[in-house]
Symmetry: C2
Subunit: 157 residues, 2 copies
DNA sequence: TCGAGATATTTTACTTCTAAAGTAACCGCG
DNA sequence: CGCGGTTACTTTAGAAGTAAAATATCTCGA
C-alpha cells in the first residue's frame, strides 16, 4: 500500500462535518461543567483536572508530567500550581537528585477537596447524560476509543 | 427529590468514563487545530470560529447572536470583535431601530481571510481523521447527533 | 407620559492559556 | 575538568475566557 492508499478517501468536507458533530456537544458539556464548578465550588475546571491528575498519582507528579497529562503548556502549570499551593491544596518540592525538577503532591486537604468535587462531577455527568440511550452511550464509548487510537497512530506515523 | 429516581439507570462512574472518552480525543484535536491556526495564520481558534459564524450569516449578526453561537459570554465577544474590527476583518455598526444593538459583518478582507483558513481547516481535519475507519466515522457522526439531541431535551425538561 | 423592569452591550477584575524568551541545572564528550 | 547542548521550569506579554456590576436603551402598563 502506497501513501495515498493509507489515506484513501478522506473528504475534507466530511471531516469538518464529523468534527463539528463531535465538538459541539463536548463543548456544551464542558461549558456546563465549568460553570457548575465555579458556582458550586468557586473553582475552575482546570483546577479540578489538576486535582484529578494529582489524585491519581500516589507519589505526585513532576511539573512536566502534569502539563503532559493536562495537555497544557509548562507556563500554564506554573501558575495553576502556584495558586493551588497558596490555597493549601498541594505542595511543590524540589527533587534532590535533579534540582531543575519539582514534585507536586496533593495535601490531605487537597485530596479531601478533590473527593467532594469528584462526587459532584460524577453526579452532574450522570444527570447531563441521563437522556442518552444506553446503546448510544456504549457505541460512543467504543468508537471514541477507536478515534483516540487513530489519532495516536496518525501522530506517530 | 431523588435524582436517581428521575434518571433510573445512569451510573455516575460510567458517565465519567464515557465523558473522558469523548473529551480526550476532542481536546487533542482542538489543541492541534489551535496550534496550527496560530502557526500558519497567526490567529486563534476563537477568531476562526467567529469568522466562521459571521461568514455563514449573509447579513451579519448581533453581538448577542454571536455570543450564543460561539458559546461564550457577551464580554468575551466584545473584545474579540474589537480586535477583528481593528484588524479590518469585520465592521460593527449600531442598529438605527435599536441603539443598544450592534450588527457585526465581515468585510471583504474578512471573507477572503476566512476562505483561506477554512480550506486549511478542512484539510487539517481530513489529515487528522485519516486513520479513522469509515464505519467508525459514520457511527460517531450519528451517535453524536443523538448525544446533542439528548442534551437539548435534558436542558429543556 | 412616566417609571419600572427587561434587554443589549460594555466594563472590570481576574483566571487561564499560549508562544517565546529567559534561567538554571544536568549530561556527555573532548 | 569544562564547555555545548539539552532539559525542566519560570517569566513575560498578551489573547481569551468568566462572572458580576455598570450603562444605556427599549417596552409596557398604569
Amino acid at each position: 500500500m502506497d501513501a495515498t492508499a493509507r489515506h484513501p478517501e478522506t473528504d475534507p468536507r466530511a471531516a469538518v462535518k464529523l468534527w463539528l458533530r463531535l465538538y459541539r456537544p463536548v463543548s456544551l458539556i464542558e461549558r456546563e461543567l465549568r460553570s457548575r464548578f465555579q458556582r458550586e465550588f468557586g473553582v475552575s475546571l482546570s483546577r479540578f483536572d489538576a486535582l484529578s491528575a494529582l489524585d491519581r498519582a500516589p507519589d505526585g507528579l513532576l511539573m512536566g508530567e502534569l502539563s503532559d497529562r493536562l495537555l497544557v503548556t509548562n507556563g500554564n502549570v506554573t501558575g495553576l500550581i502556584s495558586r493551588m499551593v497558596a490555597d493549601g491544596l498541594a505542595t511543590r518540592a524540589a527533587l534532590p537528585q535533579d534540582r531543575r525538577s519539582f514534585r507536586v503532591e496533593l495535601t490531605d486537604a487537597g485530596r479531601q477537596t478533590f473527593a467532594r468535587m469528584a462526587r459532584a462531577h460524577a453526579d452532574w455527568l450522570a444527570e447531563l447524560l441521563a437522556d442518552l440511550p444506553g446503546e448510544t452511550a456504549a457505541a460512543l464509548g467504543s468508537h471514541t476509543e477507536t478515534l483516540m487510537h487513530s489519532l495516536r497512530t496518525e501522530q506517530d506515523g
